[in-house]
């Protein structure tokens, strides 16, 4: 497909369709409505199914059903709706089903605002649902990257049989940017686990899509198996971008659209002679701990910049292991931190450290 201007939400939806997603279940909420709207017409063209569910709870459980048959399935929502999906996400993780969940984050808590925010970081990266589980979470910083990460998300979901989240924000969802849809071919995955109809002698075990393990020792074994999977995901799937870090004396750590604004601020500070670089986690779980830890040994200080009161900063501090001080700048409530403010925060860090 040629390069064309696309809104982030629509680009994510089209990327999913190109990746072979044929089942979408959603419920309206701003600022992600373009995803279900796009899917409601596009999936008809490609012989898929779109259901406007009665709630986010129902939508994620429809995903559980479709994903349990091995079909590439997706749902999308924004913060309050993602809270409602947590039950289903936990069950999907427990039952080891592949699917993609898009969260176009808005300000919270509660009904909050409809403006962009990054205040769902804890929920996304700590497993917002109950139980011992993890979930890969991709945080795109451009519409093009949102497209690529959406397609990668489907592959990672299938490879590890896990729910995967795209953690965007209102800016990514609403922004129009030039996009090139990649040529996508789905790798072959084993789907012999899926419930597609079984009979004696059909060559596989009867499928039971389930997260109930009533015997504690059996559940512990199951959770330990999940833990090994999460270790493999951390090992193989962590993504991070580092810019101007080679000679950096300071580092800004930011993800998603905040990282783009921070990059402009970093460049300005460089013009002022401050040797500062940018570390941008592309996966926020698994968090790029090694990149942060290595950098923390080289720089005088780090500045976490977020559209929240400061949530990712906890991961930065954990990874930095006290090798350098970590400072914070953020705006919350749906307010986007500006280049000038971040630039000032970089200078303040330099003055202090």
């Amino acid at each position: 497909m040629n390069r064309q201007m696309m809104k982030g939400n629509e680009a994510i939806a089209e990327a999913a369709v190109q990746a072979g997603c044929r089942f979408f279940f959603g419920y309206p909420i701003t600022p992600q409505n373009e995803i279900p709207e796009y899917m409601s017409r596009r999936l008809v063209e490609v012989g898929g199914q779109f259901v406007q569910a009665e709630s986010e709870v129902a939508a994620i459980n429809m995903v559980y059903g479709a994903a349990g048959t091995g079909a590439r399935s997706m749902t999308s929502s924004s913060s309050p709706g993602i809270s409602l999906k947590q039950e289903g996400i936990s069950y999907i993780a427990g039952a080891e089903l592949p699917c993609v969940i898009v969260n176009i984050v808005r300000g919270g808590p509660g009904l909050g605002s409809i403006q962009p925010a990054q205040s769902d970081y804890y929920q996304a990266t700590r497993g917002g649902g109950h139980g011992d589980y993890r979930m890969p979470v991709y945080a795109p910083a451009s519409v093009q990257e949102a497209v690529e990460l959406t397609q990668r998300a489907f592959d990672v979901a299938d490879k590890y049989r896990t729910p995967v989240m795209i953690l965007g924000d209102g800016i990514i969802g609403q922004m129009m940017e030039p996009v090139t849809m990649p040529e996508y071919t789905a790798p072959a995955f084993d789907r012999s686990w899926a419930a597609t109809g079984w009979k004696e002698g059909c060559g596989r075990e009867r499928a039971v899509i389930n997260s109930l393990y009533i015997q504690p020792d059996v559940l512990e074994k199951h959770v330990n198996k999940l833990a090994r999977k999460y270790a493999a995901i951390s090992e193989n799937e962590t993504m991070v971008e580092e810019l101007y870090m080679d000679d950096a004396e300071y580092a800004v750590v930011a993800y998603g659209t905040t990282a783009r604004i921070a990059l402009t601020a970093v460049r300005r500070a460089r013009e002022d002679g401050v040797k500062v670089g940018l570390i941008r986690p592309v996966t926020v779980w698994p968090f790029p701990e090694k990149a942060i830890e290595d950098a923390a040994g080289r720089v005088k200080g780090m500045l976490a910049v977020e559209m929240s009161l400061g949530q990712m900063i906890d991961d930065v501090r954990l990874a930095a292991r006290d090798r350098c001080p970590v400072r914070f700048y953020g705006r919350t409530g749906g307010i986007v931190p500006g280049v000038r403010e971040i630039h000032a925060a970089i200078h303040a860090m330099k003055e202090e450290l």
């Binding site: 459980n61 349990g68 109809g197 039971v208």
Partner: protein
């Protein structure tokens, strides 16, 4: 020559022994479903969804591909399955807490969409699995562990008549209430369960069969008293019959 078998395990039941209490009619309903499925379909044509409730382990009993759904979400899960596997017969098996309380929205909307699935709804007027709390279908006057003085409309709200409610919708093709408290009713229940599955096979859309069922354990009754309770107390509140058929 061995005598020909005239009664045996339907192919849609595994050989796992049921865990239900003595006198509980969950087992009868399982058997009826399995018989009907076996008479109509091959195993690989059917996918079932178990609830959260006493029938949570139904996935161990129904001998076909099965899902275990979150509490009340079986109709949504079945919707996802049916959309992805439209040629399969998809059914859910749900209790009254599951279907009529926490999962009411999923139930009503699957019915309103005319989702081509079959729901077997076990109305035993109580939360069996969690130890006998009040259900949305508990009769006025009945004592449960969370309505210890007996259910009153003022304190606890009124019983919900699920089948009557769903019968007002345009989506469903068949809504019927049956009982399994005696042989005649068991045979009739089987007939309606068969019709519900046939409707799905014929593409007619949503069907729900409400089965009045017993919970001797949490009702504090013997199996026999429990069957009497169904005929004397439950049926007057929840009259049997076909409430909608198109």
């Amino acid at each position: 020559m061995a005598a020909p078998a005239i009664y045996g395990r339907p192919k849609f039941l595994t050989d796992a022994p049921f865990h239900y209490c003595p006198g509980c009619t969950h087992g009868i309903v399982h058997r009826l479903i399995a018989e009907v499925l076996g008479e109509k379909f091959e195993q690989d044509e059917v996918i079932g969804v178990a609830p959260v409730g006493c029938a949570v382990f139904a996935y161990n009993y129904f001998n076909c591909d099965m899902f275990e759904a979150a509490h009340g979400r079986a109709p949504a899960v079945a919707t996802g399955i049916k959309r992805a596997q439209p040629d399969k017969i998809v059914f859910t098996y749900q209790g009254d807490g599951d279907l009529a309380s926490i999962g009411m929205a999923e139930t009503v909307h699957a019915a309103a969409r005319g989702e081509n699935i079959t729901i077997i709804f076990i109305n035993n007027g109580i939360y069996g699995m969690t130890g006998g709390q009040m259900a949305p279908t508990t009769l006025i006057g009945e004592k449960t562990s969370t309505s210890p003085f007996g259910r009153t409309a003022a304190a606890n709200g009124n019983p919900i008549h699920v089948s009557e409610m769903l019968a007002t919708l345009n989506g469903p093709s068949l809504i019927a209430r049956v009982s399994v408290h005696d042989v005649k009713n068991v045979l009739n229940a089987k007939k309606l369960i068969a019709k519900a599955f046939q409707n799905q096979a014929d593409g007619k859309g949503f069907s729900l069969i409400e089965v009045l069922s017993t919970c001797p354990t949490n009702w504090g009754k013997s199996p026999l008293e429990a069957l009497q309770f169904v005929s004397e107390r439950m049926i007057p509140e929840y009259p049997l019959g076909t409430l909608k058929e198109v």
